[in-house]
């Protein structure tokens, strides 16, 4: 694997995480418990779409294959996507969406804070913008975790079930592959070991504040880094890529 190939894959992974999250968050449009929350979640979807655009555009440039952000988003198959499985899981109830946002936004906040110091200037500048959004997403997730965890008996039960149910998808966020190793040596990629400790501290703290119990399971799902996904990704791509696939000669 060359540095160029490693960087291409790294950008795809980050871009795919944003793209798939943008899809799931978009599904909340006209479906949220309040109008304010509808706007908040679709606003996060908008952030994620912009993030995907920046990262996939860079991936295309790194690869030099002449592919645009849209080519990479809309013309790749399910085995060529590298997002974490947690991001493609169905929204479930509102508690599940908040639990996922809690896990992923905390991760992203820590991840992009580190990536701001990447030796790759382009990634560092993308990270500087993303970190602000992530901080906001994390605050939002924390606020809701507090409300749901400490709200009613029902909301507490749902929030506990949500953090428990998604727990087995959290381990994958800290997995590394050959691309990470190569880019770590060049100070381009983030040290995920370092992030993992901070992430665990923050999540443990937040779960406690929300009056909930830390999930216990130790079995962790894996596969995204190799492009092996849950069945859900195929359906996401089917819907998302429909127009580009059905009208390959059209521009939109």
């Amino acid at each position: 694997m060359t540095e160029q190939q490693a960087l291409y894959k790294y950008c795809l992974r980050l871009g795919d995480n944003a793209l798939v999250q943008s899809y799931r968050l978009s599904e909340w449009c006209s479906n949220a418990p309040t109008l304010e929350e509808d706007l908040a979640l679709t606003n996060f979807a908008l952030d994620m779409t912009g993030r995907a655009q920046a990262l996939l555009a860079y991936a295309g440039e790194v690869d030099g294959n002449g592919k645009t952000d849209d080519d990479l988003a809309y013309r790749r198959g399910e085995r060529e996507f590298y997002n974490h499985l947690i991001n493609e899981q169905p929204n479930g109830d509102f508690a599940h969406t908040i639990a996922r946002l809690l896990y992923t936004s905390t991760y992203e906040y820590l991840f992009y804070t580190e990536l701001m110091h990447s030796a790759d200037e382009r990634l560092a500048s993308i990270a500087a913008k993303v970190v602000k959004e992530s901080r906001y997403h994390m605050t939002h997730a924390n606020d809701w975790a507090m409300r749901l965890g400490n709200g009613t008996e029902e909301s507490q039960g749902r929030m506990q079930a949500a953090i428990d149910g998604l727990w087995m998808f959290t381990g994958e966020m800290f997995e590394t592959d050959a691309a990470d190793a190569l880019l770590r040596d060049k100070n381009i990629a983030v040290d995920l070991g370092k992030i993992k400790i901070k992430w665990m501290e923050r999540i443990t703290e937040m779960v406690k504040l929300a009056g909930l119990k830390m999930p216990q399971g130790s079995y962790m799902q894996t596969g995204g880094l190799k492009g092996i996904h849950t069945e859900y990704l195929g359906h996401i791509l089917t819907e998302m890529q429909y127009l580009q696939r059905a009208y390959p000669d059209a521009t939109w």
Binding site: C29, P33, L46, Y74, S155, W252
Partner: protein, 318 residues
């Protein structure tokens, strides 16, 4: 007896000052006295307007996950958020008249409050997203520009804010149509089909002809309404026909003709039977839109209860 007379006089003076304000084109503000009919009329109109913004998120939201490019997706997401935001301003503006958002939503669910009929039509293809932005928002702007001068201060100010965003929506919708008309044969066909389906319902958005709803009503007397339905419809037609021609779209009206004498377009007859049938619940999406709003509202109840329970607990602690 004397007291009663005094009271009546006082009331007269207060109403007198309302009428004087209307006469002078001064804005009526929430604390000002206003006739009960004025308040009721505004609540009905403003809540309907707010509900329309919110229900309108459904047909457009239906396309977010299928938007054909990252840019298109961003524009659509931003637009739908604007519409939700318009819903929020309008609910708050209506709340100044002494009704809560919960009450307005209950009225929507019971059928007492309405929303714009246009959202009872389905958004079937991507071109519909273009047509909605261009035609539906385009028609809404014409109406809303006129409402910037409406007599109720909070409503008029909400319209000023909203109009700025609406003109973006209209341009972005037009851009989608233009791109498709510049694209493949399949895209052009899709665009023309959307035009054919959305043109007439857009004209119906302005409501019945003036012969059916005369200018002399309360809404005009109180300066809530500043232009008649036909005046607004004409404005919309005149600006839109030219835009259609520029990109090669045909307006689906065999009777459409430039009237040199009146310096505007004459149009063919509007199918009011369809209009009334859709208003009365028989449109393609009436049931779907309302069922969806009710379902989401019911599903979100536990979340709103939790937020309220948490707020009360925090209040006790502090």
């Amino acid at each position: 007896m004397e007291l009663l007379e005094k009271n009546e006089k006082l009331q007269d003076n207060k109403l007198g000052s309302f009428e004087a304000k209307i006469e002078r084109d001064d804005a009526i503000e929430p604390r000002d006295n206003m006739p009960e009919g004025y308040r009721k009329h505004l609540i009905r109109q403003m809540s309907q307007h707010a509900h329309s913004e919110v229900i309108g998120m459904q047909p457009e939201g239906n396309w977010i996950t299928r938007a054909p490019s990252l840019r298109a997706k961003q524009i659509l997401l931003a637009k739908i958020q604007d519409e939700g935001g318009h819903g929020l301003y309008l609910y708050s503006a209506a709340e100044t008249l002494g009704i809560t958002r919960d009450e307005m939503i209950a009225q929507l669910h019971s059928g007492k409050a309405k929303y714009s009929n246009i959202f009872n039509y389905p958004a079937l293809t991507w071109a519909d997203i273009g047509a909605i932005g261009w035609l539906v928002d385009g028609a809404a702007i014409v109406n809303q520009v006129s409402l910037q001068r409406t007599s109720y201060g909070p409503y008029s100010r909400a319209m000023v804010r909203i109009c700025k965003e609406e003109s973006f929506h209209q341009r972005q919708g037009y851009e989608i149509m233009a791109k498709m008309m510049n694209g493949t044969a399949a895209q052009r066909e899709m665009a023309q089909d959307a035009m054919n389906r959305w043109w007439w319902p857009s004209l119906m958005m302005f409501g019945p002809h003036d012969s059916e709803s005369p200018r002399s009503g309360d809404a005009f007397k109180w300066k809530i309404k500043r232009s008649t339905n036909d005046e607004l419809r004409q404005k919309f037609i005149d600006k839109t026909v030219q835009q259609a021609e520029v990109i090669g779209l045909k307006v689906p009206d065999a009777d459409l003709r430039w009237n040199e004498e009146k310096k505007c377009y004459d149009h063919g007859p509007i199918n009011w039977e369809e209009f009334h049938s859709v208003i009365n619940g028989n449109g393609p999406c009436n049931n779907q839109r309302m069922a969806h709003h009710k379902k989401v509202h019911a599903e979100g109840a536990w979340v709103r209860e939790a937020a309220e329970a948490y707020r009360l607990k925090e209040e006790k602690l502090n």
